[in-house]
Subunit: 405 residues, 2 copies
């Protein structure tokens, strides 16, 4: 029941990056559950990772390997998160990297592992090892759609975005895929994003771009507030385009950043649109805050309020719940009379109470839509922040209350 999420686009290939997919039977037989991204020599990779203290073994190994060698493979399995497995988890993740290294003639440190799935069960190393030949055999620049499907867990739809632009008269391509439907999933965990471009990007800028754009997109979405142990968002630049290398003072950077931001936003929003049980896509914008912290505190308090989320599910313009959530967000010395709250283009709260021209009918008209904006102006400064979330429905409870069996 994804909200306004279309079919996959026709992906532009990204020269220098080939995708391979296998059915390794990691958790269930017959489904694509092992994905390889093979990078030609010279590709650069940067990433951002979960802030959960219990971060999973593959996240630790990927961070290690990134600092040790130039990556040649991203290896993604679903069905098992390899999280909560103590020291054995690292041993198993490294074993998979070594297996792929042996088969392909790279070093284990040139393999970055990613896992998503059930927490606390041993990684089935043997199944992954046995699936690698099939994945290697299938490597192709055109297999983006199959890869998008191969990293899904309980996502209802695969998620992808692709763009083509010209820089200095040369074609440049960006393609990306993502997965996730809760910040953490009971059985099948995690939000993952993989974005690749063929333009060369100077290493420090590559990291700056994934940090900045990841912060504005993947780090501003929430389904249920539960941060996964396995979240990763990786940006690859293969350098195969004829366009000149991008640097921090490149005149082409603004145009490229906009195209890349568009990809990040599309992939991140797709996760919310496919949120567990989601029936509404909600944009919460906090304006005129004194600082970023209070803007985010207010936005996330709303985004995580079960009462606000159930009201959205019910299409109920219950503005008292929004007002109460703002009031409990912990903003010091908040002056209630200066706050403005809008639902879509309808003024809801002014001067500490219901706006004079607000009517239930006007609020209801906004609530009946599937894409809903909530704007809160605090009247304390000039900082704005936006967070995206979905509603809380019966299906969320059903999905998350099902047994792991």
């Amino acid at each position: 029941m994804a909200v306004g999420l279309g079919p996959l686009p026709d992906f532009y290939p990204v020269a220098g990056l080939r995708l391979g997919v296998a059915r390794a039977g990691i958790r269930k037989p017959g489904r694509r559950d092992l994905v390889l991204m093979a990078l030609d020599e010279g590709a650069r990779v940067a990433g951002i990772f979960t802030r959960n203290r219990f971060c999973a073994a593959p996240v630790l190994v990927t961070r290690d390997h990134l600092g040790q060698a130039a990556p040649r493979f991203l290896m993604i399995n679903t069905g098992n998160a390899n999280a909560g497995n103590g020291e054995q988890g690292r041993v198993d993740a490294e074993a998979c990297c070594s297996a792929l290294a042996e088969l392909s003639g790279v070093t284990a440190q040139q393999v970055l592992p990613f896992s998503t799935g059930v927490i606390g069960e041993p990684l089935p190393v043997e199944k992954i090892r046995n699936g690698l030949p099939e994945a290697l055999d299938s490597l192709s620049e055109t297999r983006w759609a199959e890869a998008a499907e191969g990293i899904m867990t309980t996502d209802t739809l695969p998620k992808g975005a692709t763009r083509r632009l010209e820089i200095d008269g040369q074609p440049v391509h960006i393609s990306g895929i993502s997965k996730g439907a809760g910040m953490i999933r009971p059985n099948m965990a995690t939000m993952l994003g993989f974005i690749a471009t063929d333009i060369a990007i100077e290493p420090a800028l590559l990291q700056a771009l994934v940090s900045e754009l990841g912060e504005q997109s993947f780090n501003r979405i929430t389904i249920d507030g539960d941060t996964s142990t396995n979240d990763c968002c990786m940006l690859v630049a293969t350098g195969k385009s004829q366009a000149p290398e991008l640097t921090a003072d490149s005149p082409h950077l603004p145009a490229f950043r906009e195209a890349l931001r568009d990809i990040f936003m599309t992939l991140a929003h797709a996760i919310v649109r496919d949120g567990e049980g989601a029936t509404k896509f909600i944009t919460i914008r906090v304006e005129t805050a004194a600082n970023q912290q209070e803007a985010l505190d207010v936005a996330y308090t709303l985004a995580h309020s079960p009462l606000v989320k159930t009201a959205l599910f019910a299409s109920d313009p219950n503005w008292g719940r929004i007002l109460a959530a703002v009031g409990r967000a912990g903003v010091p010395d908040l002056d209630l009379t200066g706050i403005e709250i809008d639902l879509g283009d309808v003024a809801l709260v002014r001067n500490g109470g219901r706006a004079a021209d607000y009517t239930e009918a006007r609020g209801q008209a906004i609530m009946d839509q599937s894409d809903i904006g909530i704007r809160i102006a605090l009247g304390r400064g000039d900082v704005s922040e936006t967070v995206w979330t979905c509603d809380l429905s019966h299906d969320y409870v059903t999905i998350n209350a099902e047994y792991r069996t």
Copy 2:
């Protein structure tokens, strides 16, 4: 579907306090919705209040009046929270106080108003005014049970506790009632607690007791993390017992405090047991924390995690969700290997992974119970905190997704 919540006790009367109840038709006709507590001269009152910045008009008025005069009436209405009404809310709350003052020969400042119900609709002052004579006519020391019912909103059961003890050979009584089933309710808001004793208590000690015990009980429960705009917990000491006045260095204080704590805990836990859609009563205890803040951060992160709460609803010993919630609680430099997590008396997590002797069958046996304890030892210090909550069920969504009509 309250969890382990019995019928009301036979309340001990508290000399010097009479209760009156009326059917004022505030929101729905025919139900008890207006409660008075009339205090004889000499009674002392202390309270703690919501920390929501949007605190409701009656809360502001009660805090004002408490500082201005010796209270003679607590006046509680359900059906309307008188919150989010701007300046008119205060005018209306004061008008109700004045109406009661005129009828009973006290001053308006001697009346403390409390409201619970829908946010953002004007208080029906005329209906309350018209209901006051019936409430005054019914004043009696024995009307505790009717009062417990009269402050309910969508609570499924009335909530009360009562104790008798002897101090210096003299009988002392404590009785109390509470209401609430979500920290804020969509239509019918708020957690309220009213506890009274006939022993005399020195004013500073009275405030210290309600602050300390309220913190340990009402401020440690959560249904959904949504703090109401109207929460109040009031402690009354009528001074009519023959026992000597309690002071901070009274030898009788420890025994009295224990009895009072028992009342506070029973009333607070009753709210969780009757939580919206609750099927489980959960005690989350965080031990060996470095400080109170991190203990509470971990406890509330679990208590508010939709994934932990849906797993509890499903009786699913999904320990990965608990582990992930601890990991994202924001505790700085948390050493994962030192953490212990127990479910009931079953060891769940040791050394960063599943405990060696843990089995699904043992976890399942605990999860199948209706009262469940989760213990988390952080291994960082000697601070402990306990928080109580309930699970997240389909009924929670149903209750909160219903239209206000």
